[in-house]
Subunit: 448 residues, 2 copies
Amino acid sequence: MLRLFSLALITCLIYYSKNQGPSALVAAVGFGIAGYLATDMLIPRVGKSFIKIGLFGKDLSKPGRPVLPETIGAIPAAVYLFVMFIYIPFIFYKYMVITTSGGGHRDVSVVEDNGMNSNIFPHDKLSEYLSAILCLESTVLLGIADDLFDLRWRHKFFLPAIAAIPLLMVYYVDFGVTHVLIPGFMERWLKKTSVDLGLWYYVYMASMAIFCPNSINILAGVNGLEVGQCIVLAILALLNDLLYFSMGPLATRDSHRFSAVLIIPFLGVSLALWKWNRWPATVFVGDTYCYFAGMVFAVVGILGHFSKTMLLLFIPQIVNFIYSCPQLFKLVPCPRHRLPKFNEKDGLMYPSRANLKEEPPKSIFKPILKLLYCLHLIDLEFDENNEIISTSNMTLINLTLVWFGPMREDKLCNTILKLQFCIGILALLGRHAIGAIIFGHDNLWTVR
Amino acid sequence: MLRLFSLALITCLIYYSKNQGPSALVAAVGFGIAGYLATDMLIPRVGKSFIKIGLFGKDLSKPGRPVLPETIGAIPAAVYLFVMFIYIPFIFYKYMVITTSGGGHRDVSVVEDNGMNSNIFPHDKLSEYLSAILCLESTVLLGIADDLFDLRWRHKFFLPAIAAIPLLMVYYVDFGVTHVLIPGFMERWLKKTSVDLGLWYYVYMASMAIFCPNSINILAGVNGLEVGQCIVLAILALLNDLLYFSMGPLATRDSHRFSAVLIIPFLGVSLALWKWNRWPATVFVGDTYCYFAGMVFAVVGILGHFSKTMLLLFIPQIVNFIYSCPQLFKLVPCPRHRLPKFNEKDGLMYPSRANLKEEPPKSIFKPILKLLYCLHLIDLEFDENNEIISTSNMTLINLTLVWFGPMREDKLCNTILKLQFCIGILALLGRHAIGAIIFGHDNLWTVR
């Protein structure tokens, strides 16, 4: 019954989109709902097949350590790609009807600055869209390879940058903007308002394509956290888009429409995955989903020209990465797994610890550890000689437990998600308020 | 040493391509060699990992039935996609240097009929290229899913058509040609020179995207045959392209350049796979390669506007499909495997047989079987009452053995490949010679 109602709703939304103005967005909502339903229907049906071919893992934070199917994130990713394929004719419907003459010759087409509003087929928009989907699909392929073969870090680290080549290519051809603005107070000294980074801007964008997928992949290990953070990021990005729709100048609306068109269906499939992956999880998402989701945000940031704003939304992930560095680079011993420890007796999660007695940290790093301890940024254990015995592992998840005390897995996940949401809102406010003050203007409003 | 030499050659070819006229093709040869080397290097290194995660099969046509890694075709497919990504800037290099102004605004670009030769960035060409790669990558994803999960026929049959959506979309926007020519002798009766198939032309193209991958997948089971037939098809398609380069009108050269650009690197990675998959095979290619390779030809045929010529090259595959139909649709009993039978004593392959005594064919089909027997198109076995006991299985492979007698596996494969090549050459000659007579003209030359 509910399913029939949803189908009717989807049909209405998509049909309506053919006749009205902001068509692409209305259709996106329809396709988002369709993506949710398809993913929600598929996940419970494919679990057994995944376990059968060896894609499963044990949930260490549950009594009895139940076996759950792994890599289920490939399902929402595949549904997303599928939906985005079917979406193509709807995005470009009005151009197809109005402007293509057919009949055997390529059309002479003039693409104006605001391609979305002109009446001639926007080939550049199509390239943009196709390069985005291509990049995402390559990322899914990479994720599946990683889930199947457990690729080594040095092999897989740079691969997302390869997946981003079509994207950078389209960026080069369509925009070629490689300068960044200089804050107002520095303009007087540097005698210019912007710096052209040239090739380095492409290196920066490739780095973003490497960073976003990996950063989501390392803030993981608690039921629902991988999907949850992506849902929060998607909502924040949509809020930012909404700001531009309601008050931004015309020139920026196109970019944010593109962003919303990619993110709304992503939100749909992610919500369905969240339903099955949240505490108590019945499936694991796998690297595939983390890479795929991270790349969605990288793509949107790069092609929507707000990669710096997008990185602001990733502050918790960036903090988690920087905070992890001492262990990732072996300055402090790093146990194989750094997930919080599950205590079967009270059912709560406790920070996991690295033993520093057997394997002491680099001696220069000891005072830093003590400083972090004073700042309540890690939890240390001392013996009678005031020597460090152990430290809590350096991940945002363990830090949350150090700050707020032991808690149940779902509460832990929700706490981190709330943190992410609040930081994101503050970052957006900061970007548009303080940004306007520092640079003297903002693309939402002007101060001077 | 050889590797160093090859690297130098690749660099030269690619560097040279920046300065000279037919740049895309020269670079394609460079990337083809690079693809060959990368694939050849990777295949022996990944075999063990594939076996470890359960992707292996037994070679039934060898003494002792050795275990070989399966789905290795994913390697050349991934290398191909990788190469095609890096290729993008080289194809569009001259446009990038000459025409894009960069500096923050989208360029007003005019795309002329012969986009490849104009000096303004050909967004439509980029969409075409991206949609082709996107379609191929989706096919690879589908192939991997099939190799992992052994999808059911009814689930996977229509999926290649979904993968082809971006392709059809670009076809609609860029060309929109949906009419087919009518043979000259029928023009008088029908009073027109062409018929517009409209929507049906898209159904036809989607069917081609379904047919090509599946047809290669069912002409399989002998060491080297899957790759071998694709190499033969690639060479035939390149010969056809060469015909157009040397004597075709200017308007068709673009399409055939596009075709060669996609096929040359494909030939490179396929030759490397052939090295490891030919008799005696050390790896199996898996469905991934069959789907991927079939889709390469479908894509080239559709976007290059010679889908009908391409289908002529697929005559052996079409014949194999039609010939298999009685068994596929259960008119004649179909054993689970129809591979030819290996005889350990003499090391030769014999036609495998379906038992018609226990499970007789539909009675209407018996006279047809006898007719086929008279035409030497199957081998039947009779008992003393002249009742049919068994028939050779209806595949092109078994038919070859019926015609030419038992032979070793490599000879069997080579015989079929030679057949494919000869039929292909005849088909090309026929298409350009007889085609010109029937239609009164051909796009290579004119008769009237």
